[in-house]
Symmetry: C2
Amino acid sequence: MVTTLKPQLGANPERARSHNKQLVLRAIRHVGTAGRAEIARASGLSTQAVSNIISDLLNEGFLVEQGFRSAGRGLPVQQYAIKPDGGYAFGVEVRPTAVFTALVDLVGTPLLTHRTPLEDAQKDTILDTVWAQLDDALSKSQVSKGSLMGAGIVMPGPFGDTGLTGADSELPGWSTGDPAESFANRLGLSVFVENDANAAAMAERMNGVARGLDDFAYLYFGQGLGLGLVQNGQAVQGAFGNAGEIGHITVIVEGRPVELESATSRLSVQAYLARQGVTVTNMDDLTSLYFSANRHLLAWLDQAAQALSSALSIIENLFDPQTVILGGAMPDDLLDHIIARTALPERSVSNRPDRTHPRLMRGTSGRMTATLGAAALVLHQAFTPTIAEAR
Amino acid sequence: MVTTLKPQLGANPERARSHNKQLVLRAIRHVGTAGRAEIARASGLSTQAVSNIISDLLNEGFLVEQGFRSAGRGLPVQQYAIKPDGGYAFGVEVRPTAVFTALVDLVGTPLLTHRTPLEDAQKDTILDTVWAQLDDALSKSQVSKGSLMGAGIVMPGPFGDTGLTGADSELPGWSTGDPAESFANRLGLSVFVENDANAAAMAERMNGVARGLDDFAYLYFGQGLGLGLVQNGQAVQGAFGNAGEIGHITVIVEGRPVELESATSRLSVQAYLARQGVTVTNMDDLTSLYFSANRHLLAWLDQAAQALSSALSIIENLFDPQTVILGGAMPDDLLDHIIARTALPERSVSNRPDRTHPRLMRGTSGRMTATLGAAALVLHQAFTPTIAEAR
DNA sequence: AGCGTTAACTCAACTTTCTTGAGTGTTCAA
DNA sequence: TTGAACACTCAAGAAAGTTGAGTTAACGCT
C-alpha cells in the first residue's frame, strides 16, 4: 500500500513574499480598511516589511489609498483598502439543464450574471457554453482576461463512481478525467471545482453572514440537500471531494426513519405538493403558496423542520461549528419559517450559554447563490496565504 | 459582532528555516530513511538548502546517518533517519478515577507507561499527580527534561458548558480557565489538549494503520463513543474543541431510534450484560466471555454492529474519508467481530470500486491507546511545518 | 501656547536563508 | 573505455526580512 506525501512547499524568499502578500490582503479585507502598523501587528511582520509589500500591491493594482485617518496620537494613518477592480473572478454553476455564470470583482460585487439553457448535458457542450459565456461576460463588462484571477466551478456531485451514483442530478461524461483540468484547459484560467454547498459556504464567509467565521456549516437547499463545511477557514472536501453528502443519511420524522433529502429539498417539496395536487414550477410559486398560507406547504415545512432538527443534532455534535447556515435555492420566507420551526436539540455541544451567533441562521438565498459562491472560491484563494497551504 | 482574525504568521527567514526543517523531518519520517536529493524533490527546495538544513538537524541531534546506499547511477546516497532519542514526548490521559501516563521517544516507541489511581478528581490533585508521574518517568528513563518536546493531554470532553454537560465522564474544576494553560504552567512544557478519539487518530496516523493517510475517521470505544476526525492531516477540533461527540446522535437499531452511545460503548456492554446477570469488570472478562461464546455478549455485539452501520453511513457521507478506523478500550477480538458484522452501507460516497483501503478497519486497541495518542500529538506537532499552521 | 510623549512611517545597514552555476566524484551502460 | 546520469559541495549572488536611527504629526498635560 503506497501513500504519497502531499507535496508541501518549502519556504524560500520568493514564496515567503507571495505568502506575506496574501496575508496582508487578507488582513485588509478582514477589516475593510487598515493602516500599515495595524497590519504589521496582525501579521507578525515588521512595519517595514508591510510597507514594502503594500507598495508592491499598490503598483500591482490590488490596493487603493483611502486617505488619512488620525486615531489618537501619532502620525495620521494612511488607510488602504482592496481595489474592487484590482481583479475579477468568474463563477460557473453547471446544472443538467442550464449553466449559470457570474462575473464578480475583487470585493465580491457581481458585475453581471447569466443563465444559459443547455441543449444537452454533454461535456463538450458544457465546456463550449461556459467558454462562450466567459467571452461574452468579458466583452460586455470591458474586463480584460489578464485581470481575471480564475474561475470557480460548481458541479453536482458526487464525483467519481460511488454508491450514490445513479442519482438524477448527474452529468454524463465527467466521471473520467479531472473536471478542473478540463475547464482549466478550455478556459485558460486557474480553476477551482467544488460542490454547491461548499461554494455557497465560502461565499457566505467572504461577503455574507459568515464573515470572519472559521468554523461553520452550511445547509444548502438545491435539487437535493448539501452540507458545506468550513473548518479552520477551509472548505472540507473529504478524501475524494465528496464530503457533505448529507442528503442520504437517515433521520427521524414523525417517529419514522426517512432519507433526509426526501424530507427537505426542492425535489421533496415539489413531490410532496404534487401528491396533494398542487403544482409548483419555480420559487415564486412557492412564495405565493406560502403567503396564501397553503396548508400543504405548511405541512411540508413542518416535517422539513423536523428532519432538519435531526440533521442539526448530527452536524453540531460531529463538527461543533460556530453556527449552521441555511440557504440556497429556496425563498427567504420559507427558510425563515423553517428556521423558526426547527427545534434546537438540547443534547448538543452547540447548546451553550455563551454563544455569540445563533445556532441556526439564514444565509444568502436565491438561484444564484452557488454561482456567486463559485466565484468566491477564486477570491478566497487570492486571500489565502500559500506556504503550507491546506490543500 | 466582533470577529478576530486568527493570527497567522508572516514568513521571514527565521520562520522559513523552522518551517523547512519540519518539512525535512516530515519527509524523512514518511519514508523512514532518505537521501538529500530525494528530500529536495519532495519539498521543492534546492539540494543545497536541504544539505544545510540536514547539517543543522544532525547537530541538533534529530537525525542520524544511516550509511550509503547506491541506487542506480550517481554517487551513493547518504541516508538519513530520525534519531529515536533525539527527543521525547509525554502522554497523559486523565480519567475521573485514574491518570495514565506514557513516555515515548521521537519515533513513537514507548519507553514506559503507568497507571496512577486518583484519590479524588480535583484539579490540583490531577495536576500534582501528573507532575509527579512526569518527574518519575524522567528519572527512571534517564531522559533530561530539556529533550522533552512537550506533553499531550487527553481529557474527557465536552469542554465548557454545553448541552451535554452533566454526562458522567466529567471532571470537576476544569470548566473555568484553559486546561492547556494549567498543565503548561504546572509542567513547564508545551501542552496539547485533545479528546481521546482525536488523540487515538493521530497516534494511528503517526505509527499505526493510518500511516500516511490525511483524511480518515476514528471511532474510539471509550467510556462512551468518540469520533476522531483527521482532515487534511490535521485533527478536526471544531470551533470550541468539541467536535466528534458522535455518541449522542440518534441511530436506528432493530427499527428503533436509540442514542448511538447506548448501543456501542464500554458502559453500554457492561450495562447490557448486567441486565442479563453477567458482570464484567475489565477487558479480559470480555475476552473470556467472547471465547466462551456467551450468547448475551454476541447479542450485544450484533446490535452494536447495527448501530455502527448507521454511524458509518453518516460519517462516510458527511466526511468522505479514506477509511474509518475502529479502536480504543475494547479487545481486538471483539472489534474484529464487530467489524465483520457491520453492514457497509450501499448508499454511501465511500462505496466506490477503486478503494485502496477497507472502509472499516481495526486500529490500535487496549487501555493505553489514548495515552499513546496524547504523546503522538506532540510528535505530530514536531513534524508539521509551522508557517500558516492550520491551527 | 508650549513642549514632551506617543505613534506611524522611512531610510539605510545588516542578517538570514535560499538559489544558482560551476566543479567533483561515483556508478551504470553503451 | 567513455559518456551520461546522478548526488553532492563550494562560492557567489539575490531576495526578503529585521533592526535602529531619524522624521513627522497629533495629543494632552502644564
